[in-house]
Symmetry: C2
Subunit: 309 residues, 2 copies
């Protein structure tokens, strides 16, 4: 069982409109709704790969009920979300059919009380003994302390569970200091953390700050990993055009499943890059085109070297 944590869960709503103009009225031609928030996307990809996944984080209000209803329809995903009094946030992506551009409206999310945060930590502690790996994903909702991920990392490590962190800003900075097994920043997040815009230097610096392994995502160019076992660069065989939202979540799912299966790093990285590329071709985050994933898996070029033992 793999555990993903999404403290700021969402219902991701997509509206298609013929042409979006400010200060005008629009009739929406198509409405789609999906459970959202990075950790829920990671969980859906893991489930599609055949893993059993438990999701936790917060859920509240009518929107939280919709998220839970939709999750209950995903085979392989167990819902361990913790109720809060506030309402789960909606995110609305308005897609302009004429230009293909997306305009995004994100609700702030519920304010989590200290009692709710304590209840979450208790559930998290109870789940850890039965999981093989845990991913901590995304932003923190209002009310959750900025050092939240650092605390959750220490708890996981004390329980002997490997932990991956995918967040940004101050929660990332504090989380890295708590010595997570893997962090997966993109180049911007890595630069914000370390001050270095050069991924190799940034990744080495992030390791010095506490992360055991750093996997930097380079967008369409693949991944770069600096780990105790060696350094590797993984590059997709082709570039694809599509929807990059959720590509990072698919990469996390690839890394996490490889970690849970004790794959060597080059195999984890190849899986993460193939999944990430195949998810760009899927219309929504948390999904990927399986035939493309399977075709790409052998074609990902992984170069680098293992450390001297």
């Amino acid at each position: 069982m793999i555990l993903t944590v999404t403290l700021n869960t969402a219902l991701d709503i997509t509206y298609r409109v013929p042409a979006l103009r400010t200060h005008a009225a629009h009739r929406v031609s198509e409405v789609t709704e999906r459970p959202g928030g990075k950790g829920l996307n990671v969980a859906r990809v893991l489930a599609a790969l055949g893993h059993e996944v438990t999701v936790t984080g917060f859920t509240g209000g009518a929107t939280g009920r919709v998220v839970q209803e939709q999750l209950s329809a995903v085979a392989g995903v167990v819902d361990a979300l913790v109720p809060v009094a506030g309402a789960t946030r909606r995110t609305i992506a308005v897609v302009d059919d004429r230009t293909g551009d997306t305009t995004q409206l994100n609700e702030p999310g519920p304010t989590v009380t200290s009692a709710e945060w304590a209840a979450f930590q208790e559930v998290y502690g109870e789940l850890l003994p039965s999981v093989s790996a845990v991913a901590l994903c995304g932003s923190l909702p209002p009310g959750v302390p900025v050092g939240a991920y650092a605390g959750l990392i220490r708890t996981a490590r004390a329980a002997g569970v490997p932990v991956l962190l995918d967040t940004s800003g101050e929660p990332l900075r504090r989380g890295v200091a708590a010595r997570p097994d893997v962090v997966k920043p993109n180049t911007e997040e890595l630069a914000e953390l370390t001050g270095s815009h050069e991924p190799v230097r940034g990744a080495m610096d992030a390791r010095r700050r506490g992360a055991h392994a750093v996997v930097a995502s380079l967008g369409a160019d693949g991944l770069f990993a600096v780990t105790p076992e060696g350094r590797w660069r993984a590059t997709p065989p082709t570039r694809v055009r599509g929807n990059p939202t959720g590509a990072g979540d698919s990469a996390v799912a690839g890394l996490l499943s490889g970690l849970a299966e004790h794959l060597p790093w080059p195999d984890r990285l190849a899986r993460a890059v193939a999944l990430s590329t195949a998810s760009v071709l899927a219309p929504v985050a948390g999904e990927f085109v399986r035939s493309v994933y399977e075709e790409l898996l052998d074609g990902v070029a992984v170069t680098g070297e293992a450390s001297a033992a």
Copy 2:
């Protein structure tokens, strides 16, 4: 008991954003939600005036449940909405804090099946014997026949219940031919119905087409009524600036309450104009500023004359 019919109910969501730009991501600073659709706004104003109101129409999905939860908190409103398999629509008003402009995104609403339409008609027929007046309000959702209001008017008249119609386009044209007691078009709707851009001529023409009384709303200039009892013009004592959304619904509530209380036409019109003006000062449709309403009520100028008996 007054009955309002809202076939295309909605959850009206308002988002405040610092500045709306297309093809950008926005953090919503404030979210408010209200039951929406013209008939539900009319019902909330009637309830605030102390009337017992039953609301019917359709409700479906998670959004329908939110609408019903919020309605259950309004004293004096009885929920007789009919369930449908599709989901009640959301409307999203994005208010730009910098300019005050609103950008509107309206979901299409559920497609109503013929079995669901038949179930609604049965509920409507069962409610009529216990009501003193009925208002048919707003647009028709997909699947409901364009002659829907005409049929509901005939049923109400057969039951001896006075009926007010507030809609537009072809549903208004067909509805007028079924001889409703009152129609309340704005000047555009009246022009579309009759071809005349002159409200007095338009109102007289609408009466010839079947409406017993025509109350044309002239926006900030008040109301103009052509009825079997006479013709009147009602003008507010002052012009106010604010949110005109829902002003027409407040006017309908004023006319309908006056009808149910058997007030003479000039008193009905004064109430409708005072309510309508007081609702422009309220932030959302379905509400009005009571102190302003009470202050304006004696100041509305009603001019005109009763017909010779």
